[in-house]
Each structure stands twice: as C-alpha cells, then as structure tokens.
Symmetry: C2
Subunit: 424 residues, 2 copies
Amino acid sequence: MSLPSQEHRETRLANGLVVVTEAMPHVATVALGVWIGAGARDEAEDEHGLSHLLEHMAFKGTARRSAQAIAEDIENVGGDINAATSVEYTCYTARVLGEDVGLALDVLGDILTASSFDPTELERERGVILQEIAAVEDTPDDLVGDLFVETAFPGQPLGRPILGRPETVSAFTPDGIRAFVERHYRPGRMVIAAAGAVEHEAVVDAAHRFFGAMPEGAGPDAPAASYRGGETRLKRKHEQVNLMLGLPGRSFRARDYYATQLFAQVLGGSISSRLWQEVREKRGLAYSVDAFHWPFSDTGVFGIAAGVAEEDAAAFAEVAVDTLRETAATLTEAELARAKAQVKVGLLAALETPGGRIERLARQMLAWGRIVPMHELVARVEAVDVAAARAAGTALLEGAPTLAAIGPLKTLPPLGTIAARLRG
Amino acid sequence: MSLPSQEHRETRLANGLVVVTEAMPHVATVALGVWIGAGARDEAEDEHGLSHLLEHMAFKGTARRSAQAIAEDIENVGGDINAATSVEYTCYTARVLGEDVGLALDVLGDILTASSFDPTELERERGVILQEIAAVEDTPDDLVGDLFVETAFPGQPLGRPILGRPETVSAFTPDGIRAFVERHYRPGRMVIAAAGAVEHEAVVDAAHRFFGAMPEGAGPDAPAASYRGGETRLKRKHEQVNLMLGLPGRSFRARDYYATQLFAQVLGGSISSRLWQEVREKRGLAYSVDAFHWPFSDTGVFGIAAGVAEEDAAAFAEVAVDTLRETAATLTEAELARAKAQVKVGLLAALETPGGRIERLARQMLAWGRIVPMHELVARVEAVDVAAARAAGTALLEGAPTLAAIGPLKTLPPLGTIAARLRG
C-alpha cells in the first residue's frame, strides 16, 4: 500500500488560533470548520448540557445576522452548515464551493464571536432541545449509550449525557452561556481546518479578518476523569434488550492505545471478527454486535454492544464474555494482520474526502499540537505484535465491568455473575 | 460553478450485464458494487421480506466459500463488503484498494451466482432478521416510516416493510429463495459499477470471469403501484409523537419531477427552508422537521416528518399544513435559486467520493439505460421556474393525504380535520 503524501499547511495567528489546510486537486468543494477544545466534560456542575445548548444558540442570531440570515447566507450559495458537541470538543463546520470559503468563515466567525444569545430565542431553543432529549429517551439504541457512559464514569462531567437533562436545560441564562464562551471559546484551544478546493493564504486571511480580534488565551483544563464501572438496568416493555458491556479502556495518549484499538477490531470491529462470527453467524442471536474502544485524553472505555431477544440475553452475555477472554488468549497473527489492513485502508479512505481530512487535521492538532504524518501513524499500527494485542486484551479483563441494559430484563444475569465469568 | 467532466466508460457483456466505471485520479481505493433492478416490490404475496432475506443469505456461504471465508477474503486486504435492499433494487457493494478489484468481483460474483442457501444457515439467519425487525419495532423514528409507506400504498408490495414480518420470514425455504434468484437476479437487469482507482478493462475482465456465465434475460417487471393514502395511528407511551404527513408524489420519470423535488427542498429540505424556520426557529416545536419526496419508477410519495411533544401535535399539524399551502402559493425566486444551488452543489459533492459515484452510475443505468450527463441534469434543474415549482406544490395539495403517527396521540387531530385544512 503506497501512502499519499500529506501536504498540509499550518499558520498560527498572533492570538494562538491555528489554521491548518490541505489542498485536494480535482475537487470543487471545500470542507471547513472551527474546532474548540472544550465540550461536555468542561461543564461545571450547574452547567450540565450548556456546551450543547451553546452550540445550538450560536445559530440563533448575531449582531449582524438573524437565525434566518445565518442559514440563508450559507445555503444561498448551495452550501451547508452544521455543528456538533462531544465530550472533549465542539465543532462548527461548513461545506461550500471553493470560491465561497471567505463567506463561510465570515458566517462561522460571526456566530462564534458575536452571537446575541437573545432571551426570547433561548426560550424557544429550550423547546427544541427538550424534543431532542425526548427523542433519545424514545430510542433505546441511543439511550443505552448514554446510560453506559454514565455508569462507567459515575458522577463525573465526562459521563453525563451531552444534551443535559430537562431540568438543567431549563435553567440556563444568556449570562451563563456568555460566561462559558468567555471561559472556553479561546483561540489558544481553537483550530480552523479546511480541505478541498482551498488556498491556504485565503483561509489565513479570512481567519485573521473574522477571528483575529479574539483576545489570546486557552481556557482552563477539564477536570480529570476516571473509569469506575457499575450497573444500570432500565426495565421497559420492548421487543429487544439493548445492552452494553464495558471495561476500562485507554487514553489516546496511552502506550498501548493502538494495541487496544487493534484488539477491539479483532474482537468485534467487522464482519470477520470473533464476536460477529460467534454471535451472529454461528448463533443468529443479534442483527449486529460490535466491540468498540472510545479513548479520551486521559482515560477511555472499552465495550461490546448488541440488541437481543429477552430469552437470549443470558446466552449473549456468556458468549460475549467467553469470546472476549478467548480472544485475549488466542488472537492470531492472521487476525492481527487483517485488523492492521483494515485500519490502514480506513486511514487512506478518510483522506479521500474533504470532510474526512478536516476531521483528522483538527483533532490531531487539538490532541497533539501537530499533524501526525501518515507514515508515523502507520508505523505505530505496524509496531503492535500478537503479544502486545493479547496483552491489551488481558489488561482490559482486569478492570471493573460496566453493564447498561434497557428492555425486558428478566433473564439478563446480574453484573456479579458477568464479572465472575470475566475473571474465569 | 464549473462542472467536472464525466469520463465514465461502459461495456455490455454478451448476457446483457452492463459494466460502468469512472476512474478518479488521486484516489487509492475503489468503490464497486453490483446492483440488481429488483427489490421488495418484486415480491409475490407469499414472498414478503424475501428479497431482504436473500440479501442476507448471500453472505452465508457458496460452493467455494463459507460465511467466514467471504468476510475474511475481503477484510484480509483491509476492504469491506456490504449490501442493502430497497423497494426497487438490491445492491452488493465493496470498498478495497485499487489492486484488489479482481478479488472483490470474485467474491461478489461468487455470492451472487453460487450461494448455497444452506437450510441450517437459513434457520440461523431468520433469528438475525427477527432481531432486525424487533429493533425497528423499538425505534419509533424508523417504525413510523414503515407505517407511512404502508398507509400510502395499502395492500401493495411497494408499501410493505422491506424486512418482512416475523411470520413471513419464518416461512421461507431454500427453494423459495432460489426461485426468486432465478426469476430476478438476471443480467439484463444488473449493473456492475466501479469508481476510484480503477481501470475499466480490468473490471470488464473480472465481470466476464465471474458473471459472464449467467444466462441472459431480464426477469419480469414489478406489478404497478399507486398511491392511495389513509391513516394509521399507533398509540404508545412515548415521550414524543413521531408523525409523518403525506401526499401523492411523482415518479422520477414524471415531467414535473424536478419541480416537485425543488418544491420539497424549499419547503423543508434544509435549515433555511420554510418548515425549519416556522417549526423549529420561530416556534421551537421540534428538533428536526423535514419535507421529502420519494420517487419510484411509476409513482411517488411526498411527505413531512417530525417528532413533537404530545401537547404540540395539533399545533404542529396546523403549522405544517399552513406552511405547505403558503409555500405552494408564494414560493419566491430567491428561494428557488437557493434550492437549485443546493441541488447543484449536492450533485457535485456526490462526484467527489467513489461511493457517491457508483451509486449515481448504477441507479442511472437501471433507471434510464444510460448515464445522464451532469450538464443535462443541471439543465433540467435550471429549467424549473417559480410558476412550475408553485404548480408542483399546488398539485400535491390536490391528492388524498396520508397520516402515520406513533406515540401519545390524544391531541393529534383526525385525518379528516387535516384533509379539510389542506384544501383550505
């Protein structure tokens, strides 16, 4: 596999904001966005859900533009604009034709530095978010994910649902939002990334114009988080039991981060994986089953997720645990080689779209303060041998388990039984 | 906006199967797939769910490969393989490095022409599909879509849920599956499409090798379908009412197809749309609201979808209907220009990924027997004027409405009330 050369360009504005771009030949559009290295885990106790509400309120009007004008300015040129809030960062992205990069950065700069946070708009937007929360409540597949993270990191901002709760969302004020922005939306922890039909100088010029006046500074670090584990069961009259079984994972800074990723890939990252073959192909227990590893900057969580019939919940838990233990003991050279090939093709495929590129540029810059060359990433993946991948799996088994389940739960064994089986 | 030149190449095998490719410079991977112009609407009364079950069974083993070998052969080289069943077609796709195109077509040819349909594997796969059906049953956002189409096209194969029902899925036999394959998986209605790091000759060679022995023929046409409308209400103790309101739409062959698409775009296709502004931005009633138009080869359905609080269901229905009527009467030049720009940038963006290209190539070939040049598509979009877009909206209003709703339904008005308001 030959690796494409990476030709990113990088400029740091006087206030600390980093601009990073990658031109892609043969592409007419540009994906661009602003990433802020703050999210749900940066919220104080009385701010639960505020980073997400703020992400919504950014679109509700500025000194220069109404909510409708924000939407129309981007969409008049055929573009689109969106935003997302996660645990450790928030991003605001747009996709436009190459010639409209300046316009897109004008709109993004406007909503990120001059939002009005009008009280009437805030009142209406609460209604929108209450419906967003209600939709999660009605969707077991989504809700179980929230319960899982909350159970793995109990009582910690990192574990709380990103949308907040109806009671916290109802209490926010314009001043509270402004205080969060002033504390966390600081150029020292912001990255503008653009890829596609783009010239670096034009992006830097627009970044100067629309973000250059922000006073320097980087905002406080989020409080440390640590995995604890435990059990949450939510009895509901559903057709399926939605369940997630977890163990402490790794930070993306950990020495054995890639070994853990590759272990999760072999265990349940694709249709040739151990879990897929055991749970779906050999037993027909679930429509899909996944093993995943979610890393954060200082901790992580590993897990297995599936939806099964009530009468199969116990059988599924046993097969999942046994397959996990078995994989940690017997993962093969061929399986590891396949997992490495999948990770490498995935890295390559992400480079083939403007959206994939900016995600990578921005997140690497926030995590490492630099763009990690592709050959360096590939070398880290290649360096994992069978012993290291098995050791990463064995290390997972030593932690306290997490169980989150929603549905008819009569046959699902208690966490203690699962924990005992995990220890063998 | 300058349009990229389209350099597709096209070859018809002796048995009628069409191979169409587009090489993309600066891309290392290739997306490829086999499309069959048959899907759920081609099922006989006692075959409900069979096209989808067949799509699953294709992965369960052939004369040369076990289910595990099918997965491993593709994933060993870092690729992935997937499939999907829709109303009018079924597709089997893979993504691999350019050098592995031959391997991917070997696997696809194997599973499409030499599947074993082993009875034991069938027994297990039923369990998988029953869980897939159960997951839809537990996800109101998905379930309401099934109810909606079923209500719009009652008693017709086109309207039935693609997954089938537990009782139909439980009745299928290996012979029934083989009969469906022999009837519908015929080269005269199949397209192989590939885009990315690909050479046309190599794809044609592999297509000859792995699909060339299929006997020619095209299989029967699906029975005609026609929109009827009606009402389905499913009372559930949910946080939200999930509802879809529909009207008869257009075939993608209809003269006013593009006018209808553009009308739907102005009404509720993006965040500057009338519905988004009225429902979300001005009233905060829903987290998202969409207007959509689903065209088929001989009919179509238009609709509006949202999830709202029980106490807001009546208000939402009124706003949705009033906005629809208002838009049909007053849609502006500026709105139409914006909708056109969005459609055009969308067409362009789809050309920027291998996956977007093959979808386009295959579906155009199945629908029209040729690849429609981009300038021709753009010309059809440009040809729609304000009068035509308003007329398309007004024509929608003349049909019988469809209402599908799930959740707490006390305040949702009956269809008759909504129908009366639609007529003004």
